[in-house]
């Protein structure tokens, strides 16, 4: 059950900056520590840029979620791009198909509490993360 939910477009480079600001202000609203805010915002930055660069643009949906007394933020990055044929490979440290550092997926997985990828070649990619307070 989501307590709050918003969806943002990611079509241009500036949108990455904007969704990062959203992640930061939501994390501040839930009173995440400075380190946790920084980790969460950085993961947001990586995944939003993948949505833009590899997925050809898409959306980020942000939700405040609850688990018992715990609150957290769930972000869903969704695109209708080429998809990922080999998810295991894409999650490997240093793997890149496009001259990046290849640490966006694997690194952001380490920066959050829950991480899930769904992708179908030709259909698109959805990455869902949660960071609990």
């Amino acid at each position: 059950m989501a307590l709050k939910r918003e969806t943002y477009r990611i079509d241009v480079s500036n949108d990455v900056v904007r969704v990062r600001q959203v992640a930061r202000s939501w994390a501040a609203e839930l009173k995440f520590s400075l380190v946790d805010q920084t980790k969460f915002v950085t993961a947001t930055s990586e995944l939003a840029r993948n949505t833009l660069e590899h997925g050809g643009g898409g959306t980020m949906t942000a939700e405040i979620v609850e688990n018992g007394t715990k609150k957290g933020i769930r972000l869903i990055f969704d695109d209708q791009g080429p998809g990922i044929a080999n998810i295991e490979l894409a999650l490997r440290d240093g793997y890149t198909s496009a001259g990046g550092m290849g640490l966006g997926l694997s690194g952001s997985k380490r920066l959050v509490n829950e991480f899930e990828i769904n992708s179908e070649p030709g259909r698109g990619t959805t990455v869902t993360i949660i960071r609990w307070k």
Binding site: S13, R20, V35, G100, L103, G104, L111
Partner: protein, 287 residues
Amino acid sequence: MSAFQQVIKANETAILSGWLSEMATSTRRTDLMGDTEIRQQATELLRLFTEASQTSSDVQSAAFASTKEFLKDVAKSRMDQGFTPAETALFVLSMKQPVFNALRDAMKSNPSELVTEIWAAGNLLDKLSMLTVTNAIGFRELTIQRQQEEMLELSTPVVKLWDGILALPLIGTLDSARTQVVMESLLTAIVDTNSQVAIIDITGVPTVDTLVAQHLIKTITAARLMGADCYLSGIRPAIAQTIVHLGIDLTDIQTKAKLSDAFALALQRSGKTVVSTKGSAPKPKEL
């Protein structure tokens, strides 16, 4: 038969001069706009309005297209000149008084027709002024958006700290095309000033992700190839932890917590020391 459209057409000159003097007393901003310009705008708007209202009393109709187009230009130029959206709307609203005066004079003998026509003319002018406000706010939003984008961009100068020592204090987000430009300007400055050390300070960078790290690493590697040492300073604790979790390896890069530490190292490496010319530091006074 004397609907407000005919009254306006018959009294264009009187309405214009009444309107101008109305604006002169209540809404003019002489600091922002000259007489000639305001007269031109008023004349043109009255002409378009009179013409359009002859065929329609619906502002959404094609008859009002050029009136609306003109008001859009007015809104834009007034926003550029520094008027508020309310002041811009007043330009249109202040036409009411002279129009109503003309109607009153023409329909003295028929009060109920006068009320109907005042209502009709007033309604039309209200709608046009609302449209002007909407346009004005739209232009303001565009301006704000543009300014925000500009603020997101970097404007970072390369500064010379000492002979042979440069610093690049980065401020803002680091993922736009400008980043490339800034990094290149550092490399150019290294060559131009024949510097041996360059310090990149990221104290003012809110997020360091893999793209930013890649830019930094590339620049530092290029600086090395050109024979200069490049240090990275201003890595805040939260960012240091995040970099480690991301898996970015900065062990090959000389990092310092603060710009001053990096500067001290740079001085030391280039064989310079800082000495106090006042001898020993003054002793604290005894009570």
